[in-house]
Each structure stands twice: as structure tokens, then as C-alpha cells.
């Protein structure tokens, strides 16, 4: 299995163009598991699958802040470990909290945000955050560059709209003015696949509350009804929300989820869990009760 190790984005794009069907390898924390489990055919005999390793490409491993646009652009090869470091952690607190829940220190050192998107598991911990933030994903291929809304990239369980030979270059998210956080339920206290997860972000300037859920539908889902309801009941300046509104918000979130029963949990518990997390996240964002 030949492994190619380009050091520039241009080279990587060229190589992917020259080797249709090549596998992109970032941290390998998903891909190697799939290969070892035999879920990814790796070719045989005369036509071995080519692997293009992207972890040596400096452009993918950096991040930048655009103060004018109030955005952060994160290279696809930035690791969870790096997302936990300052100043990124303070700029994007929900992403840092989500990153902290990923695997173990070894996995956080190797695993990347781009890989999380590339795999597109409904349980991917970075994805509810990118969804709640309405991230824009920058793609590049021999055919050129294009930007997609993160929701258009995630099309199904472990399915993306990436075209063959297309690389995720980076992800742009807005710097919001307000509380944001991430919660994840699993059956143990660390290193666990999400049974259900939720990311809630608030923005004072646009007066919005947004919430995205993981592991309760084929892809990460947003909760438009709950968001619209929240916009009308929270006070962004006083950071208050009434108790009954918190309860209603939870119900609306639960109603959006479409969970299933599997060996990790039941649909009923998943629905219950997102309801509880939604309530608690909203309360964390708006700790006060209006007088």
C-alpha cells in the first residue's frame, strides 16, 4: 500500500487527481480503525490502494482569526489538542469543550477536525459545534475551490458530499458574542462514543440561540422550532430565562430528534437525554430567572 506524503496543498491536490480512489489519511484515528476492521477494502494484487497522508501539509495545520469579519478559520489538520489550547479555547469555547470529550490524550493528539468531518459520523463530537455555529467548509480539488455550508456537507451516516479527489482545506466559524457550550452523554465518564450530544450557542448581537444535536439522527441536526422559541423567551443582556420556558425548550428539542434503538442505547433514552441536556445548556447560558 503506497503512502504518499505531500508537504503542500498543491501537491496533495495533484496527487489526488493522479490517483483516483486514493485514501486521504489525516490523524488516522478513524481510517486505520476502518482498515483494520476490514471495512475499507484496500485493494489487492496489482492495484494497491494509494494513501495520501495530509498530516505534513503546513497549510492544513494552521488557524487564523479575521478580526474584521469576526471569524476564525481552522485548517482541516488542526488537532483536538490544538483546539484545547489558548487562545483558540477561549475564542471557541464550545469547540474546546467538545474537543475535550474526544477519546483519550493520544486520540486528541492525532485526531483532526477535518477527519471528524471526513468521517461524518452522527456521533462525531466536533460536528454539533460546527452545525450550531453554521460553519462554512472550504474544499479544494484539481477542479478548483468551493465553499459549502457544513449542513450540505453532511448528507448521511458516514456520508459526505465531498467529490472524489476533493480535500477539506479549512473550516470557517463566526466569533459570537455570548455563552456557548457542549454536552455529551456516554456510558462512561471519558473516552466514549456519544449516546447523545448537544451544542448550544448564543449570540447577543443577532439575538439568537442555536442548538444542534448529535447521535439522535442520521446526521447532526439543528432544532429550528426550539431556536425560534428560545429567541422569544431569553434576555441576552440580563442573561435570564424563565423556568417554564426552559422546560418547553427541552421538549421542542426532544421533538426534533429522530433517535434509534441500537446496542449503545434506546431511542427513548436518547430523546430524554437531549431534552435534559438542552434544558441544562440553556440554563447555563441564561443562569438568571426574570424577576
Amino acid at each position: 500500500m503506497p503512502v504518499l506524503t505531500p508537504v503542500s496543498l498543491d501537491d496533495a491536490v495533484r496527487l489526488l487527481d493522479a490517483h483516483p480512489g486514493a485514501l486521504v489519511l489525516a490523524g488516522g484515528t478513524d481510517l486505520m480503525v476502518e482498515i483494520n476492521e476490514g471495512h475499507r477494502p484496500i485493494g489487492s494484487g496489482g492495484d494497491p490502494t494509494v494513501v495520501v497522508a495530509v498530516d505534513r501539509i503546513a497549510e492544513l495545520r494552521t488557524w487564523t482569526v479575521d478580526r474584521g469579519a469576526d471569524t476564525v478559520t481552522i485548517g482541516a489538520g488542526v488537532t483536538y489538542r490544538e483546539l484545547l489550547d489558548e487562545p483558540l479555547a477561549s475564542l471557541l469555547p464550545a469547540l474546546a469543550e467538545a474537543s475535550r470529550t474526544v477519546g483519550s490524550p493520544q486520540i486528541r493528539n492525532a485526531g483532526t477536525l477535518g477527519g471528524n468531518l471526513g468521517t461524518c459520523s452522527p456521533a462525531g463530537d466536533g460536528l454539533p459545534v460546527l452545525s450550531a455555529l453554521d460553519a462554512v467548509v472550504h474544499l479544494v480539488s484539481a477542479a478548483g475551490r468551493r465553499d459549502v455550508d457544513v449542513h450540505d456537507l453532511m448528507v448521511g451516516v458516514k456520508r459526505t458530499s465531498l467529490a472524489p479527489g476533493e480535500l477539506i482545506e479549512s473550516i470557517t466559524v463566526p466569533l459570537l458574542d455570548g455563552w456557548q457550550g457542549y454536552s455529551k452523554v456516554g456510558v462512561r465518564n471519558a473516552m466514549v462514543i456519544a449516546t447523545a450530544s448537544a451544542c448550544l450557542v448564543t449570540d447577543r448581537s443577532s439575538r439568537t440561540v442555536r442548538i444542534a444535536l448529535g447521535s439522535v439522527a442520521p446526521t447532526v441536526v439543528r432544532c429550528p422550532d426550539a431556536e425560534a422559541f428560545a429567541a422569544g423567551v431569553v434576555d441576552h443582556d440580563a442573561r435570564t430565562v424563565p423556568d417554564d420556558a426552559v422546560a418547553r425548550f427541552g421538549e421542542l428539542v426532544a421533538a426534533t430528534s429522530r433517535p434509534i434503538d441500537d446496542h449503545r442505547s434506546t431511542a427513548a433514552y436518547r430523546r430524554h437525554a437531549v431534552e435534559v441536556m438542552a434544558r441544562r445548556l440553556l440554563r447555563r447560558a441564561f443562569p438568571g430567572r426574570p424577576a
Partner: protein
């Protein structure tokens, strides 16, 4: 002070101290050779084809396409087994390869050998097996009721045993009952199954390097299947990374040897994690009904119980596990009357057999849950109810067997109760959200969390039971001030290699102790299981060293004209207890070789009769656990904050090793309490990986405060009881009781939580 006193006073690694393990540094640094590291040039790889169906008839097997793949050296099926087509620890009911029928998902059908694991995988994929899928037997009750046709010539019931004790008709003023369930737990050792088989020229014999728990039992079963004389099969212990019962049954041993003998070339096999889940036996899932009768004061009058253990497709040790389960119905409590009915049955689930705790884990979850219910019904504290019923030496068990072991049950409970409770508030002094239930997932705030306390107390038999003579052999050779020990005791991580040397240093007054290779070039040591090796192999090493010492005293006595009976070991010297003589052992043994081999047998036991009466067990140990648990009731998430324990260890030969067993066992008990379970749907395992079979992490495992109750047992050769199993037995019910306690504080409602592992949904969604 004289020089000799100074030497004697030097800290020596004798019994009662905690020297470092001889293999500790290598293991930490990664240089220790585990069985999966075995190999070498020209060694072929072996791999197993397994059944995808829980129950099917094999219509045909076409191995032709596998042979046509480049690099494939052998493809073997049931037709290629020269000797016994089946094997097993108690009854030989498990085929080396399925021939006509497969009985569980993962049952071996064929093995291949090839130049590379990838070639093996392709060869396996090329073998064509045609199946006629049959109706699987998945409900143990159907096996008992006889409503499902036999899935094996031996029938669907592996063992049915009753216990009838005292008056079956008495009743108590207070009656509590419940039905308890335990899921299937995996031993989850980290060192996966692996072996290297090296054939003798001409196929006259074979040497197998293997991670196992019992070299000689493997050898006997292997020789029968390979149709070789027992002496022609030589086993050498490969580096073992944990066992917990999963290495008692032979798994890849026969396959690996068959390939090596057929090819006349060394062959190695190594399981993946997924294959490991399929390739070894597991803890029996159980359904246990219990009814306790007591006086209004909470004194147990009678226990009624019915046990159903799902043995899976093959018998393995199911009959012994059932015996253990039902004979521990009463737990560490007096019980004058009992009616117990126990079944171990065959189904098309994964085969079950030995796992740390061996049937007692199942019984204990039921009897401890019952004790809490009894406490509630009698309006007593959980500690008080247990103290009132605590067993003592001399009490008679429900099998009629008198309790002859030291039985410090009351002391274990009181010492546990005296251990400090955690001084940390919920979330810790530093208000770290990671310390709340949900951990890194940050699901809870402190206000969402309640703390509970729960108790569990257990009795566990030590050594084998029911007439089994599981003796142990050891050899000691003393020459030039150095002792060399040889035994076939499987070192699986428990630390026998450390204490064997400590025993020799203590008895012989030497500092240099060499351990010979662990293999079958000496008599059996019995299995590293049933908490037995410190007692049994420790007893054998101690006895061999003592015999050597007697001979040494004879030599020294003769040389100095002193009655050998006056001689003793003091530090590293031979001294005359009634005179002045003091000779260093090194000097006394210069140019001398003393060599003794000893077999140590425990006292005989007997089988149970039809009414479940008989002195079936050898000895017992006891333990108490108190768990403190923080619970997020709404999400059903749990964080165990502390486990306190006082364990009856007889005598701690190596206190650090004892604490290691205690902490590890509690981690395993915690796993069963809140997360560890093999999930099977329609007979198909759904979580054969550590992604989905969850083990406690560092963040799940609480600090353990342990008190070692040392009352040397006069029956034990060194006063020391086995310590391996008790920690994982009552820690599980203690944690579940703590969860119930926390939930009761929320709304005053007593939750049953009568199934382990307790899932978040059981806490969050269960309404009773």
C-alpha cells in the same frame, strides 16, 4: 552491634514485605515479551474461520478456493483432527472444529496457515461454507422446560442441582423477594490470545508457547486431540497479559499445534480483539430469584432461591460455576433453612465458563440486594442487618458443611465502616466538572447530583471443590547460597513470581532466588484461578524450601556435631538456637547441591448429594465493600467517588500485591455494576470491541481505601488466603446499592435496579 546483626537487619525481600515484581520494569517499559510478541523467521501465521450463525447445519465446506491462493500452506477442518474431535474442561463436548452443526456465532470451522496475516484473511474469505440456518435456542427457560429440541447430543441442561437444608416449610415474620439479572461480562484481559507452536522433527511431538492459566490441563486436552502421548506435548508459558478465567479453556491451542504438526513448521496465532470476544468463554449471564424470610429483628430464618445460568453453547466449567453460585446463596450470613434450585443450561449464545468470582458474583448481587431489602423491611441500617447475621467460624452452611475457615465477617464489616468517608464534596474541592457524573461530557452541574452510600459483603470459596484434587508441585534447589525454584504455576500478572521468591528467601535465608522457566517439565501446579495459587503453589514452594532447609540443617549439624533440630535460619545465617554457632547460608551451602520436589494437596472435599448436602468446598475468604457514588438521577449517569474495603486475607505475604488485586478487582466489579456487558441480539454479538464493550477508565475508577484483615488461617500453609476474587464480588452490589441510596434521597422512592450493569436509562427512565 555485630556485623551479622547488621546484615540480618538489612531490609530483605522476605514474606510480609512488598518487593517490586521481577517483570515490572520490563512491562512498564514495553520490553516484556507477551505471547503476541512470539515469532521468528520462517514462522507461518494461522487464522480461524468462524461461524456467522448462532445455530446452523453445515451443508458443505469447500476449501478448494483457499488452497489456490498464493502463500497458503494449509487449510484444516474437522476431518484433519487426528485424535479426539472434542475437548472441554469438565465434559468433552466442544468440537475442535464444527463438523455438521455450528452452535454459536464464532464457533471455529477451519484454520488456515499462510505466509502473512493478510493472506490468511483472503484464504478465510475464499472458503465457501453452505449453511442451513436452524432455529436458535436463546431462552434459558426454554432449555429448562424442554420445549426446544436438543441443540447438542448431551442435551440442553448442563446441570441441575438442588439444595435442601433444614425445614423447607418454615416462614419468617418478614419476607422480601426479588428477581435479579446479570449481563454477560467479558474478562477483557489486555494481552490477547496468542501462541507459537514448534513441531518436533517427524511430527513426533510439539512444543507450544502459550498464554494460559494451566499448562498441564491444556497439555492433557491437547494430547488427546492431537493423538500424541502426553509427554510428547510440551508447553511453555508465554508472557501472559491478564487472564481472569478466560484462559482456562483451550482456544487456539489445538488449532495452532495441528497446523504446526501438519506443516512441520512453526506456526503462530494471535487473536484480534474481536476474535478474542468470540474465542474465549465469558461470565455466565444469570437470572436469580430469591426470597428471604427473617424475624422481625432481621435474623435470617430461611432463604429460597432459583438460579438460572446461561452456559451458552458448550459446557466448559458451567457445572462448577453453578455449584459455586448455589452454595453461596446465603452469602456470608447464617442461614438455618434453605430451598435452592439451580440450573445451568445450554443455549446458542457465546459459551460461558470461568471468570473471576466464578458464580459467586452472580449469587452475591442477588443476596446483597436482598439484604438491603430486608434491612428496609425491618427498618434497620444496612450495616446492622449484616452484623446481625454475620457468619462465624463453626457455623454450618446450607450444604451441611461446617465453616472451618477463619471467618472474620463482623470484623470486615466494622473495619470497613471505620474507614474514612471521602472528605470531598460533590464535584471535589476544586469544583472540577470532570469529577461530576458524566465526566468529560460535562452533562451535570453540582446541583443536579446526589450522593449515595451502599454496602456489599461477600463470602468466596478458595481452591477447587467437589472432590477435585487440584494439587500443586514445586521444586527447590539450593547451591552455593542461591536458591532456584521451578514450578508450572502460570504467572498471569497476579504476582506469584514475586512471592515465590519471597517465600524462598524467608525459609532458606538466601537473597538470590532464581526462577526457572515455567513449563511442563515438572508436575502440575493446578490452575491460576479460584484464588488458589498463593495457598497451593505457595504451599508447595514453602514445603519444598522447608525440605531443603531440613537437609541443610542435617549437613550443618553433622559438620558441627549439633542436633539439626537445634538449628534455625536467622536472616541469612544458620544459627544454633541453643548455642553460639552462626554460619552464613552461603558458606554452609558452598559446593553443596540440595534438591527437593514437593506436591502440595489441599484437604479432600466431596460432591454434593441429591439434596445438595456435602462438604464440597475447601476453604473460604470474606470481604466487605462500601461504595460512595454520585448520581445524576435525571440523566442516569454515575460517578463512583470512593470504595472502602476490609478484606480477610489471612496474612498479607506482599501487601502491595494484595492492594493491587483489591484495586483491580474493584475496577472489574465497578465495570459490571455500571457498564460492562456483552450485548447479543438473536445470538449475534453486537459489541465485540473496546469501542462498545466499555471498561472503566481512569476517570471512572475511584480511590480505594483498603484495610487488610490479617488473621492467619491455620489451614493455609502460610496463613495466607487467596485474595484475587473477593474484591470483584461484593463491590458490584455495593455500587448498585449506593445508586439506589442516592435515588431514594431524591424522592423517597426505592428503585429496584435489579439488573447489572445498571444502564443510564434504568436510572433515568425506570419508574417504580
Amino acid at each position: 552491634m555485630t556485623a551479622s546483626v547488621a546484615v540480618g537487619a538489612r531490609a530483605r525481600d522476605v514474606v510480609g514485605t512488598s518487593p517490586a515484581r521481577p517483570d515490572g520494569i520490563a512491562k512498564v517499559q514495553g520490553t516484556f515479551q507477551f505471547s503476541s510478541d512470539l515469532g521468528g523467521d520462517g514462522v507461518l501465521w494461522g487464522m480461524t474461520l468462524r461461524s456467522p450463525h448462532p445455530h446452523a447445519r453445515i451443508v458443505s465446506i469447500d476449501v478448494g478456493p483457499a488452497w489456490r491462493i498464493d502463500g497458503v500452506a494449509a487449510v484444516l477442518t474437522a476431518d484433519d483432527v487426528p485424535g479426539s474431535p472434542t475437548y472441554g474442561l469438565i465434559s468433552h463436548d466442544q468440537p475442535v472444529f464444527a463438523r455438521d452443526v455450528v452452535r454459536y456465532v464464532g464457533e471455529p470451522i477451519a484454520v488456515v496457515a499462510a505466509d502473512h496475516p493478510e493472506t490468511c484473511r483472503r484464504a478465510l474469505a475464499a472458503i465457501h461454507v453452505e449453511y442451513e440456518v436452524l432455529d436458535p435456542l436463546l431462552d434459558p427457560e426454554a432449555a429448562i422446560a424442554g420445549t426446544h429440541p436438543p441443540i447438542h447430543p448431551d442435551g440442553n441442561v448442563i446441570r441441575h442441582q438442588r439444595i435442601l437444608c433444614g425445614d423447607p416449610d418454615v416462614t419468617g415474620e418478614v419476607v422480601v423477594e426479588g428477581t435479579y439479572e446479570l449481563g454477560m461480562q467479558d474478562q477483557a484481559f489486555l494481552g490477547l490470545e496468542a501462541a507459537l507452536a514448534i513441531p518436533d522433527p517427524g511430527g513426533r511431538g510439539v512444543e507450544l508457547h502459550i498464554a494460559t492459566q494451566w499448562l498441564h490441563e491444556d497439555r492433557a486436552q491437547l494430547a488427546a486431540c492431537l493423538d500424541l502421548p502426553v509427554e510428547a506435548v510440551r508447553l511453555v508459558l508465554g508472557g501472559v497479559g491478564g487472564a481472569f478465567g478466560a484462559r482456562e479453556d483451550i482456544s487456539l491451542q489445538v488449532h495452532c499445534c495441528l497446523l504446526a504438526l501438519r506443516l512441520g513448521r512453526p506456526v503462530r496465532m494471535a487473536y484480534s480483539r474481536r476474535e478474542s470476544f468470540l474465542g474465549h468463554v465469558h461470565r455466565h449471564p444469570a437470572r436469580i430469584w430469591m426470597r428471604h424470610h427473617a424475624t422481625a429483628d432481621g435474623e435470617i430464618v430461611k432463604i429460597e432461591a432459583r438460579f438460572v445460568l446461561d452456559g451458552g453453547a458448550y459446557a466448559s466449567t458451567s457445572s462448577a460455576v453453578l455449584l459455586n453460585a448455589i452454595t453461596h446463596t446465603q452469602g456470608p450470613y447464617r442461614c438455618p433453612n434453605a430451598v435452592v434450585d439451580g440450573w445451568a443450561v445450554r443455549t446458542n449464545h457465546l459459551p460461558c465458563g470461568a471468570m473471576r468470582g466464578f458464580g459467586v458474583v452472580q449469587a452475591c448481587f442477588a443476596h446483597e440486594s436482598q439484604m438491603d431489602r430486608l434491612a428496609e423491611a425491618c427498618d434497620l441500617d444496612p450495616v446492622e442487618i449484616r452484623l446481625r447475621n454475620a457468619m462465624r467460624t463453626g457455623d454450618v452452611l446450607i450444604t451441611g458443611q461446617p465453616m472451618e475457615s477463619v471467618a472474620p465477617v463482623e470484623r470486615c464489616i466494622r473495619e470497613t465502616a471505620a474507614l474514612p468517608l471521602p472528605d470531598e464534596p460533590i464535584g471535589g474541592h476544586d469544583h472540577d466538572p470532570m469529577r461530576l457524573p458524566g465526566g468529560a461530557g460535562r452533562t451535570a452541574d453540582e446541583a443536579h447530583v446526589v450522593r449515595g452510600i451502599g454496602w456489599g459483603v461477600a463470602m468466596k470459596n478458595l481452591m477447587y471443590s467437589e472432590g477435585f484434587d487440584d494439587y500443586s508441585t514445586a521444586r527447590c534447589r539450593l547451591a552455593d547460597g542461591q536458591a532456584t525454584l521451578k514450578f508450572a504455576t502460570a504467572e498471569v500478572g497476579q504476582g506469584f513470581v514475586t512471592i515465590a521468591a519471597q517465600i524462598a528467601r524467608t525459609v532458606l535465608g538466601v537473597d538470590e532466588v532464581e526462577l526457572d522457566r515455567i513449563d511442563t517439565q515438572i508436575g502440575s501446579a493446578g490452575s491460576t484461578s479460584a484464588s488458589r495459587q498463593t495457598w497451593m503453589s505457595g504451599g508447595a514452594v514453602d514445603a519444598a524450601c522447608r525440605q531443603v532447609r531440613e537437609r541443610l540443617f542435617e549437613l550443618v549439624g553433622a559438620a558441627h556435631g549439633i542436633d539439626p533440630l537445634r538449628l534455625a535460619i536467622d536472616g541469612t545465617d544458620v544459627v544454633d538456637t541453643a548455642g553460639e554457632l552462626r554460619v552464613p547460608v552461603a558458606e554452609a551451602t558452598a559446593g553443596v547441591v540440595i534438591d527437593e520436589t514437593v506436591e502440595y494437596h489441599h484437604r479432600p472435599t466431596e460432591e454434593l448429594d441429591e439434596l445438595g448436602q456435602g462438604r464440597c468446598h475447601t476453604a473460604f475468604a470474606f470481604v466487605a465493600h462500601r461504595a460512595v457514588v454520585d448520581v445524576d438521577p435525571e440523566l442516569g449517569l454515575v460517578k463512583v467517588v470512593q470504595v472502602a474495603t476490609a478484606q480477610d486475607v489471612g496474612r498479607a505475604l506482599n501487601p502491595l500485591s494484595v492492594v493491587g488485586q483489591i484495586e483491580g478487582g474493584i475496577a472489574q466489579g465497578l465495570g459490571l455494576a455500571v457498564m460492562e456487558e456483552i450485548v447479543q441480539t438473536d445470538g449475534v454479538i453486537r459489541n465485540a470491541s473496546f469501542t462498545d464493550y466499555l471498561l472503566p477508565t481512569f476517570l471512572d475508577m475511584p480511590p480505594v481505601v483498603a484495610s487488610l484483615v490479617e488473621e492467619p488461617d491455620p489451614q493455609a500453609p502460610l496463613g495466607a488466603k487467596g485474595v484475587g476474587e473477593p474484591p470483584c464480588i461484593s463491590s458490584t452490589p455495593a455500587i448498585v446499592a449506593a445508586i439506589r441510596d442516592a435515588l431514594r434521597q431524591v424522592d423517597g422512592v426505592g428503585r429496584r435496579l435489579d439488573r447489572v450493569p445498571v444502564r443510564p436509562s434504568d436510572i433515568a427512565l425506570e419508574r417504580q
